[in-house]
């Protein structure tokens, strides 16, 4: 062993972890673009911007597609996409876990012990072992899913394509990518219990965050779980139930979505669309046919996103919960935000608010730019921007009609959406003190 963990991390911190992360993603995207532009990658030639768009969409696990993945890309092209998704999903997740450890020196003893117990990373060997654990766990889950999906798809498509499409959808689902080989995504399986359950369980597992999974693995009782895990479990349950009820009610009479289905399929479709919207991005209903109310509600879901240190994006469910709890606290005239008998630090609330506001500002600038470059209904533009930032991948149909400039804006937005929130959380968690001290000034607000 050449370096102790501390030394290694110290050297990394000098380049700044977010910079390493952004650079790795950039390299993956550039390499991916070249590979997808190769003649063997596509059945018809595609433009550089479409190759860049697809590579970015795959690496950032977004799933927005400017061309039909199933027909325009060859098996070689599709494998490239699969690998990019795997790199983008697992890469960010393991990176986030490392960042949590680095920051762990500043966070509570409880979580530090948890992370150390879970991964035993006390040296460079420990770090490698940790990343290995993340990868092994992910591959194991994906492997099980391939078997289960094959049981559904081999009878339908035969051995070759049956297993192949199971592998593709398993990787795409666990990494919350939302890419599908079917040109209508999963609309053909709107009422299929097997596909609905396996796909959603995959992306919920991938999207809840590795620290949550590790905590669940090591802790037997709910009250012994960390605050973060409790919030994620209860929060995921509540938001999914609420989303399902909203979508069910808002679409119930819509003849082009739920209206045409029987009650069982209505429930499956509401469930699927409720859980997929926060970041997975698969769809079993036609997004462009949803009512404006559902679409606007989905904007919120897409913005909230998945869990920290997961394969999903968005500002993160915990960020949203912290803001919500803090707001309720202040509206009741209290100052201490208490959840599960734990006080949320002002710094934590502050960090959450900052992440939300900065993220909204980024999305706003993108929407502003898109209204200038694109000639499309405003709702389609807004939906596309939130979908790209949350690396969701749902679209009302604008993606295919984007101008080159519009594609470039979405590419940048997907990139920021994937690495931005983690970068922000990292920066905001550091507490570098300024050397010059100024007196405090007061400003009236509100």
């Amino acid at each position: 062993m050449l370096f102790g963990e501390k030394e290694l991390l110290h050297r990394r911190v000098q380049v700044s972890p977010p910079q390493i992360l952004a650079l790795s993603f950039l390299i993956a995207i550039v390499v991916g673009t070249f590979l997808l532009k190769l003649p063997i990658a596509t059945t018809i030639p595609i433009s550089w911007i479409d190759a860049l768009f697809t590579a970015t969409s795959a690496t950032t696990v977004t799933g927005l597609a400017v061309v039909d993945t199933g027909t325009v890309f060859t098996v070689f092209g599709q494998v490239v996409i699969m690998v990019l998704i795997q790199i983008g999903g697992l890469g960010l997740m393991s990176f986030a876990v490392l960042v949590v450890i680095v920051l762990g020196k500043k966070i509570g003893l409880r979580e530090r012990i948890l992370v150390q117990e879970a991964f035993n990373q006390t040296s460079i060997g420990g770090v490698i072992r940790l990343v290995k654990t993340v990868f092994m766990f992910s591959f194991f889950i994906e492997f099980i899913a391939v078997i289960l999906l094959s049981m559904r798809w081999v009878p339908e498509y035969g051995w070759g394509f049956g297993i192949y499409t199971s592998i593709f959808h398993s990787i795409s689902a666990f990494n919350n990518a939302g890419f599908s080989l079917f040109s209508d995504n999963l609309m053909g399986y709107v009422g299929d219990p097997v596909v609905n359950l396996i796909i959603t369980l995959l992306f919920i597992t991938g999207g809840i965050g590795f620290t949550v999974l590790a905590d669940l693995w090591h802790t037997k009782e709910f009250r012994h779980l960390s605050l973060h895990t409790k919030l994620m479990l209860v929060g995921t349950l509540i938001i999914n139930v609420v989303a399902m009820i909203f979508i069910f009610l808002l679409e119930y009479t819509n003849p082009v979505t739920l209206g045409a289905l029987d009650l069982g399929d209505k429930l499956w479709a509401s469930y699927f669309q409720a859980v997929t919207t926060r970041t997975a991005g698969f769809n079993s209903l036609d997004i462009g046919s949803l009512t404006p109310g559902t679409i606007v509600f989905m904007l919120l879901l897409m913005f909230i996103g998945a869990g920290s240190a997961s394969t999903g994006s968005g500002i993160k469910l915990t960020t949203f919960i912290v803001i919500l709890m803090a707001v309720l606290t202040y509206l009741r005239g209290r100052t201490e935000t208490v959840v599960f008998n734990r006080t949320l630090k002002v710094q934590l609330i502050f960090r959450s608010l900052a992440i939300a506001v900065i993220s909204l500002f980024v999305v706003f600038i993108a929407i502003f730019a898109l209204t200038i470059t694109e000639d499309a209904p405003f709702l389609m533009i807004v939906f596309e921007a939130f979908s790209a930032f949350g690396t969701v991948g749902l679209s009302m149909g604008l993606t295919w009609d984007l101008t080159s400039l519009g594609k470039e804006i979405i590419v940048v937005l997907m990139f920021i959406g994937r690495v931005g929130p983690l970068t922000l959380a990292f920066s905001l968690a550091r507490t570098k003190k300024s050397t010059i001290r100024y007196p405090e000034g007061e400003v009236f607000t509100g």
Copy 2:
């Protein structure tokens, strides 16, 4: 003198100042609704909801109109509207100044001395004198404006209507109400220097905030001004110049707005629309004809709004500046936000972020509700919601077509938009400690 100031304020605080404020506004709106529903108030009968809408729009100095103010309302009705505007504008401004004094006991010595020197309110007599100062100053400004506007409008409309319309527009402008007796608002004066200058100077003065005006009155040198005043002056200048450039460029070739005008009128129109959008709500261009880019940019302006303790609304310019400075600080990896050699307290930044997030959440819920009740393009709905919340009063044309439910939503939104941010700022500035202490919990965000 029966009560000392302390005793009086103490008794008020028990009902909570925001509650008094909300209640006064409610009473004004209810009385206004009944008066506007009287047969003598209108030339044709109007519905209760239209009377409520108009009373709310006037009291909250919004300016959104469901009927044409100049033709549907009689002089009696228009006088009611004028009085409601005056109550709503001056009422909130003086109330805000009082709140600043109450909170002043917790804010810096510098501002406290400033407020005390300016108003010398050391007793109940002082408080009354302070409110008197606010009122006298406002009436004086409005009086001067009436004389100046009359010089323009008496030659055009004769003595009667010329002076009357000057009074109406002077009150409407100083209080940032945006109501006009002309059915095309101020579009008939798009290139008129007198109307452009006087109207904009009126609402800029009313909208910059009374503490700023008092500080300017008492302080001779820029560097001796309070931090709040410096931010407001520099901020107002920058945002107006930036807004003017954006609107000028975005509309330059639009044949139905700037495109048809000569360069002089183009500049006047860009200037007017740039400064009016943050809360005043007059318009010299047809809002429904603007390009989507301009409309989206205006959403930001409407959300930002005017100054604290002013006749305007929105989250307030200082709130926006504080957020912007803090974000820039964190993106550069610093932790101390320094402006004009003063450090902004974390509590202040935190309060600003909270106001922004809660306000956005309110607007979002309204947009969600409006997409369900209204059958209109999404951009029109979003614009209407931001306009109502910022009590701006600009509309792309949706106001007249709103359903009854839609009108009710906008009524609530105007009310929250007017009293909400001040209420929030007040609540967030209080620091009531919880009696039960819980251990701190850590949550991962971003």
